[in-house]
Symmetry: C2
Subunit: 416 residues, 2 copies
């Protein structure tokens, strides 16, 4: 029933070698890696020279290769390779979330037009089968929300700051020493990686194609020991959590920000490099999935699972997108957050309403209150540049107009 | 791409009505329920009379009905209905774990011979997509272990005994009042339900068809307040956990027993009626899935997910079973357990080795040590009849011959 596939592999770093190992140690399934395209000509390789090529066309133009597995770093070069492969009628497996989140609509179109399959389970949350579960299990159910911890690097850093009272800088260094964080950790610590995954998941969970540039990602680079102390004293952990939330009027909000997590939340115990995803369905209730978010073998296993699915003719059906009554994306929502600032200018710049807590001392000031997401998007650079820190205190997201109605109503009450 | 299905439904109780509700409230997917076969002629129904029939043949002999959804209680009558439906070329969706666990081999054969699809995601762990994940995601990976909490009723009872210090009897009564436990709770509290699910999961995780009669299930009916106190003092919770464990020599052990769970285990926070499953893969590491284990809508949603899969031509491939190098089932293993007994006769009857703890007082005696599973199987009735309680203190399962080697080695050491 299944077909033996000939694979052309792009990239032979951590995940590529993981795939090679997993493939050679899996029983009952054999796909041949016909060729591996790499860039660096001097690096020693664990496979024979005859497998290696430095010319991408040697794979793309080879009619015997039916599957391209793309595992390189460079998202733009990856887009070029993946588009060419799809146009030439080859199926593609990729783990590249930046590629996907940046070119989601074009890639969707290309795989439809060329009637080939593009699979990318390894792109979101490592070894957790989240895309497959959304595609195949939650495909007919209206979902309320998908949230979780999608990035292992930041979760490792945040775990260490809380559990071992490490400073952000020390925790980052430890993550780099352990190989969890890259030498340039921007993508992870500024929340880009988690955002890319949220954008991919929003397509399969809500049928939504969003431009990743329009999605807010606030990261953890400005985390200060005062923030850690605040969270610890209240018994919270700090996690970087993407939230994809259905709202009234067929609207969906998507963003990534740090969040204080209470003990009874599923995510409270998702520590170190692990990822966790909570899927809330209208009927099935709350589902929680946890697994290793990164690593050579777990990601390799996820890639292999896609290759295996290809050998059985599998293709995402994008059922929620195809249904054509997908909701629309909005940033015009209000969230409740903790905001550590430096001086009153900051408070004038970043405007919080309904302030429920305010603390000032010589060198530590914060408020807890409500803020509009569009306002945070407009001021993202200001927050980063001035080392301010924002963390959700509540996971509730409300449409701004609901909030303004509430305010008007309040004012009326006051005027009587 | 997808086909509109005509459904013949058997049973219109809790899950049947849940399915009806979920089906009528799902966007973008319509399958028609053409007929509902029920037994009780006097019970009022929430659907029009024209949909109801009391004659199973009105569904089974109707060539327009392409899917039978079987949701009745009686496993033997269900087997008759499902077999007939498969033989008549109809696809079948069922949530009946007893039916499946008791007739797994015949049902596997029938759906192969008649080239139809038999799906049963709702049979194991409610709304957790465990079978689909094993079939489609872990299909090529060698798994080390699958364990978890598969039964919501016992988990509800056990949660209440620990959290609210209720006695077993009171907790059971509360579960019955809340509708989680049936008036005859034997299947749940004696661990049969969890065992049926373990048997189904063993097929998809390890390619193993086991006779459910050969699998040990020790339940929680003999739980005493002393056992609860012992666990609480040590900071453990007690959970009823099926364990499906790969061992050396291509052997797999399967059994269900109470277990003391420490705080850092994933299952520690799976409380009340929730279920949790831990899948340990050779490469993907530990995956954890949690969701609602029971209930009308979650189970209805799981059934609907199978119906939707059918509309896209989905069929389990039983890849691990088909690979033909499935491991073999064994009960000749040693586990480490806590054993509360009444008198020395009990200790002579149930033989524990390598006793690491022993406690006796006027009315409470226990040992902690090692015991062979075959020995517990032979003495299951004795344990139940004499109100003795057994709980795993460790989740490690070892082949008996490994243990005996160890003992010999130890003796040699001693003799020098």
């Amino acid at each position: 029933m299944s077909k033996k596939l000939k694979i052309g592999l792009f990239g032979f770093g951590c995940v590529g070698q993981g795939l090679y190992h997993v493939l050679n140690n899996s029983t009952g399934f054999k796909a041949d890696i016909a060729k591996i395209a790499v860039k660096n000509k001097t690096k020693p390789r664990i496979v024979g020279k005859e497998l290696i090529t430095y010319d991408k066309w040697e794979i793309l133009n080879n009619p015997e290769i039916d599957v391209v597995v793309e595992l390189i770093d460079d998202a733009e070069e990856a887009f070029h390779i993946v588009s060419e492969a799809l146009k030439k009628g080859k199926h593609v497996v990729t783990a590249n979330k930046k590629l996907l989140a940046t070119h989601l609509e074009e890639l969707y179109r290309l795989q439809q037009e060329n009637n080939v399959s593009l699979l990318y389970e390894a792109s979101a949350c490592g070894s957790i089968p989240i895309i497959r579960s959304l595609e195949e299990y939650f495909d007919n159910e209206e979902l309320e929300k998908v949230s979780g911890i999608f990035n292992g690097t930041t979760n490792y850093i945040l775990t260490k700051t809380i559990a071992e009272k490490l400073s952000y800088a020390n925790a980052l260094k430890q993550a780099q020493d352990k190989g969890f964080a890259e030498s340039d950790p921007t993508n992870d610590v500024e929340g880009f990686d988690a955002k890319f995954k949220a954008v991919i998941i929003a397509l399969h969970a809500f049928g939504l194609i969003i431009k990743q540039e329009e999605v807010l990602n606030i990261g953890i680079t400005t985390l200060h020991e005062n923030d850690i102390k605040y969270a610890s004293e209240k018994g919270y952990k700090i996690k970087l959590t993407p939230i994809i939330q259905r709202l009234d009027d067929d609207k969906v909000s998507v963003f990534v920000a740090p969040r204080f997590i209470k003990e009874h939340n599923h995510l409270y115990n998702v520590d170190n490099e692990f990822n966790g995803v909570i899927v809330e369905g209208k009927f099935s209730g709350e589902q929680f999935l946890q697994g290793r978010g990164a690593g050579s073998y777990p990601t390799g296993a996820a890639v292999l699972s896609d290759i295996s699915a290809l050998s059985h003719g599998y293709k995402y059906e994008f059922k929620k997108y195809a249904q054509k009554h997908a909701p629309t994306f909005t940033n015009d929502v209000v969230i409740e957050a903790y905001f550590r600032y430096n001086n009153n200018d900051d408070l004038k710049q970043i405007i919080f309403d309904e302030i429920s807590e305010k603390y000032t001392s010589k060198d530590y000031h914060y408020v807890v209150g409500k803020v509009n997401l569009t306002h945070l998007i407009a001021n993202r650079d200001y927050i980063l540049k001035n080392n301010l820190f924002i963390s959700l205190v509540d996971e509730k997201v409300s449409l701004a107009k609901e909030e303004s109605k509430k305010t008007v109503f309040k004012k009326e009450l006051v005027s009587y």
